[in-house]
């Protein structure tokens, strides 16, 4: 963290950072939603489970209480029923006296002192087990009870005997027999009084509203044998269990309720077992745990179901919210990304040239400044190469800006390809490129790079479906010796570049102090050139052209000179390129036309024969859209005959944009103006295309003529050019003829006309005029007939 406190208290700020990070995370939707979801889920499930536990506990308590109540009631009922039976046994016992037993029973019955006959049978058996009295009448299979356990045990036990369950063979019912021994005088020593009752009587109080379908109500003998047991509507007798395990021997009245698995049917029940105080029997009451808790479980299920539903709903809502917030967040982050991208793009555009993608001037300045700092620190040298495309303006003007842009793009690629990765290529604007080479050890390194660039640029380009060649001029300034700051270094590289241009373009030049001086001259030249037109400092010099055979003057070429007030006479090659660059060539050219034409007309009016007037066009002039208009106006204003005007264009100009050149030339021809190719032989023009141009004259470049006598190559070239001109029906003019040998040779080889020092130097109008007059006079003298 960029916290000023850092220096003073690391621990504190670290802690607060952690806290802050946590707080920040807390408000993150994903985290927040999760926490909320967990909390609400905890509440839902906590409440639900609590309710479930409470429900279960309530059900449990209710069941316990119910079991205890039921046991109390049942115990009371059983005790009463058994007492009634015992009372009956005792009543019969004591009523027997000495009377016949049957009589006694019937008497008691009629008195309503016996239990209802519908359920109870009271009988008396003699010592051999024969039933001697019974009401109602004993069923046939029970007329002798000697084999029954109650009969045998009644002789031995003092109290009421509770016999094992017996099945009545006639009715199929299970019966319970209760017996006591008694004495009857007429029947010998002992009789047994018995009461039998349907076993189901003791469990007829089974109320399914209370005990359900799986509760239990039972009488269990202390011998562990169930006298009767009822579950739902199912009665059973005789099942044996471990009595001591079933009945707690606590002796406490009102045994506790315990939930236990009943061994006879493996069912869990709230079970109460109580041994009766006065009878050898225990009651068993059981409430099915499953039944008792069914309702609670139902509720539990409902609660759980609701809780689940609520949870799902909650999760659904939260996940929906989460999703929404996630999308919101994503949208926000996308907007942020877009902003960042935009900012990056803006920054990129601010520091890059959007045409070539190279660093722009601002960025380059920064890089250069940084590079210089670095170089200064480590004592390194670096080179700054300043590049300017030759003739770019001409291409841009003739082919349009799109083509110019394409060219610049291609340039950018080629430059980047020609230098190392660590070198910086930038475009400063227009056709100006710079290359920065950091860490230069030897200047030869830089030369190698410059040569590579020159080679890369000189490869042909294809623009608008045509092939072009372009060259570049490179100025090199070294850091630190050529400048210790960016401005100086750039300026000096620029100066070196101009020097390269002056050196004929397509080359690289290192800066030197001398150049700077020249450059200063150039600057002065440029500023004074602007005033030169106004101050009438330009002059036209004329050089005559002669017919090869007759020697007659056929015309002249107008040549521009600048009579500079301080520098004296300046040759065109010293200022024309400058004028081309700054555009002054157009008004200057216009002045040249005007002056030349006016002069020509003037001479004719003075009586000169019609002489042709050749005027040179520079590239920029030739492509200027006002050219035709300007020439037309000039011809009209001066009254010059168009056929006497000959426009000279260089071979290289012609080849720059051939279709356009052809178009312009045709327009000129239509006006009646003659066209000449200047410096023919120096360009790369395809001879086969020469016939496509509407030409009148070919001018053989002076360089061929110069070595004509010595160089066989130049001779054959010259001959070939003459031959070509002839075959195309053109006038062939040789330039720069300086000797009689050259003139003779040309004459032999049928050259039409020539010009050069051999005849005369270029001279001002007045001198030329005098020279002409002399010549005419001489000519007339030597050819009086004409």
């Amino acid at each position: 963290m960029n916290n000023p406190d850092d220096k003073h208290g690391h621990g504190v700020s670290d802690d607060s950072a952690v806290v802050w990070r946590w707080l920040h995370r807390l408000v993150e939707p994903a985290f927040l939603f999760t926490v909320v979801a967990l909390l609400v889920l905890a509440v839902i499930w906590g409440t639900t489970l609590n309710l479930v536990v409470m429900e279960r506990e309530t059900a449990d308590r209710t069941a316990m209480a119910l079991a205890a109540d039921t046991a109390d009631t049942y115990e009371a009922q059983v005790v009463r029923a058994l007492r009634e039976i015992d009372t009956t046994l005792k009543l019969v016992h004591y009523s027997l006296d000495d009377r016949p037993a049957q009589v006694v029973l019937e008497e008691l019955r009629d008195l309503g002192m016996l239990p209802p006959e519908l359920l109870f049978t009271v009988s008396v058996a003699d010592s051999r087990g024969n039933v001697i009295a019974s009401t109602p009448e004993a069923s046939p299979s029970q007329r002798n009870v000697a084999e029954y356990d109650f009969f045998q045990r009644a002789h031995e036990e003092a109290g009421m005997v509770l016999g094992l369950p017996q099945r009545n063979q006639e009715t199929g019912e299970w019966q319970l027999f209760f017996s006591r021994h008694a004495r009857a005088r007429d029947e010998g020593l002992a009789v047994i009084v018995a009461v039998s009752v349907q076993a189901g009587y003791f469990v007829s109080g089974y109320d399914s509203d209370v005990l359900g379908e799986d509760g239990v109500l039972a009488l269990l003998g202390t011998d562990g044998i169930f006298r009767i047991k009822r579950t739902g509507d199912q009665l059973s007798v005789g099942t044996t269990v471990d009595y001591s395990a079933m009945v707690p021997a606590s002796g406490a009245i009102g045994g506790p309720v315990a939930v236990k698995v009943n061994p006879w049917d493996e069912t869990r029940r709230y079970t109460v077992t109580r041994e009766l105080f006065e009878f050898p029997v225990a009651i068993v009451v059981g409430l099915s745990e499953a039944e008792r808790l069914a309702e609670a479980e139902q509720s539990e299920q409902t609660y759980l179901w609701y809780a689940t539903l609520a949870s799902l709903l909650l999760l659904a809502i939260l996940s929906l919210l989460g999703r929404l917030s996630w999308r919101l967040q994503r949208t926000q982050s996308r907007i942020m990304e877009e902003r960042v991208d935009h900012a990056r793009r803006v920054e990129y555009l601010a520091f890059h040239d959007n045409l070539t993608g190279l660093p722009n001037r601002a960025y380059f300045t920064r890089l250069l400044t940084q590079g210089m700092q670095h170089s200064r620190r480590y004592g390194k040298r670096q080179a700054l190469l300043f590049l300017d495309l030759d003739r770019f303006k001409a291409i841009n003007d003739s082919l349009g800006h799109d083509a110019g842009d394409d060219l610049l793009k291609e340039m950018g690629k080629r430059l980047s390809g020609a230098v190392r990765e660590s070198d910086v290529v930038a475009r400063l604007g227009g056709d100006e490129f710079v290359v920065l080479i950091p860490e230069v050890i030897d200047e030869s390194q830089v030369t190698v790079v410059a040569d590579k660039i020159l080679a890369a640029v000189s490869l042909p380009f294809t623009l608008v479906g045509q092939e072009f060649r372009i060259t570049v001029s490179i100025g090199i300034a070294m850091f630190p010796q050529d400048g210790e700051d960016e401005q100086t270094l750039m300026k000096h590289a620029d100066v070196a570049m101009y020097h390269a241009k002056e050196q004929g373009k397509n080359n690289a030049q290192f800066y030197s102090t001398q150049l700077s001086t020249d450059s200063l001259e150039r600057l002065a030249l440029e500023s004074s050139m602007r005033k030169a037109l106004e101050n009438r400092e330009f002059r036209l010099y004329y050089q005559s052209k002669q017919d090869m055979l007759t020697g007659r003057v056929t015309g002249m070429e107008a040549l521009l000179r600048w009579q500079h007030p301080d520098l004296g006479l300046i040759a065109p090659m010293q200022f024309i390129p400058l004028a081309e660059e700054n555009g002054l060539i157009v008004p200057i050219g216009r002045w040249v036309f005007n002056t030349a034409c006016r002069q020509n007309v003037e001479w004719q009016m003075q009586g000169f024969p019609p002489l042709s007037m050749a005027v040179n066009l520079s590239a920029r002039q030739f492509l200027d859209e006002h050219l035709l208009g300007d020439i037309k106006t000039t011809l009209e204003e001066t009254g010059m005959a168009p056929e006497l005007l000959e426009l000279e264009i260089t071979e290289s100009m012609m080849m720059l944009d051939m279709p356009r050149t052809v178009r312009i030339l045709k327009d000129l021809k239509r006006m009646g103006v003659r066209i000449a190719i200047d410096d023919f032989g120096t360009g790369y023009s395809s001879l086969s295309k020469l016939k496509d141009f509407p030409l009148d004259t070919i001018k053989i470049d002076g360089s061929f003529i110069q070595d004509l006598v010595n160089s066989a190559e130049d001779r054959s070239l010259t001959e070939a050019i003459i031959e070509l001109g002839k075959s195309l029906g053109l006038t062939v003019v040789a330039e720069g003829v300086e000797s009689i040998e050259q003139a003779d040779y040309l004459r032999v080889h049928s050259c039409d006309q020539f010009q050069g020092f051999y005849i005369n130097m270029p001279m001002p109008a007045t001198e030329f005029e005098m020279s002409m007059r002399d010549q005419f006079r001489r000519f007339e003298d030597s050819n009086p007939s004409e």
């Binding site: 009922q77 009463r80 239990p115 006959e117 519908l118 109602p136 349907q198 009587y201 109080g205």
Partner: protein, 146 residues
Amino acid sequence: MRIRLTSSVLGLFLALIVGSASAEVVVVVSAQNPTESLTRAQLTDIYLGRLNRFPSGESVTPIDQREGATAHRLFYRDYLGQTPAQIKAHWSKLIFTGRGQPPRSVADDSAMADTVAASPDALGYLDSTYLDSAEVGDRLRVVVIE
């Protein structure tokens, strides 16, 4: 379904024929008792220990015949629509839980006739043929069960 329905209708029909032909149980009171009719529900309630007064407001003592007697079986079947076992279970529960005692029972039609005739609050039942054969018409009144 159709067969079962047919057979049950047939059975009912046969039972009616047999019932009317052989034995019919009638409900009787003492000639001194003014009761002439009882609804089937009233009769049922009285015999199951749920009602202890005649519609007139006089107390009633229902008299039963012994289990096993034909009249007993027919009475409970025809008037209460219950089997002797059901009746026994009913009273078994009432006696055990101490909420009632079954009607006193007599041995046969003759005992029934004597018992009912002797007590103005008694209500009983017996075979109609006995009523016709024994000249007891003036001592007993047949109660119409609606």
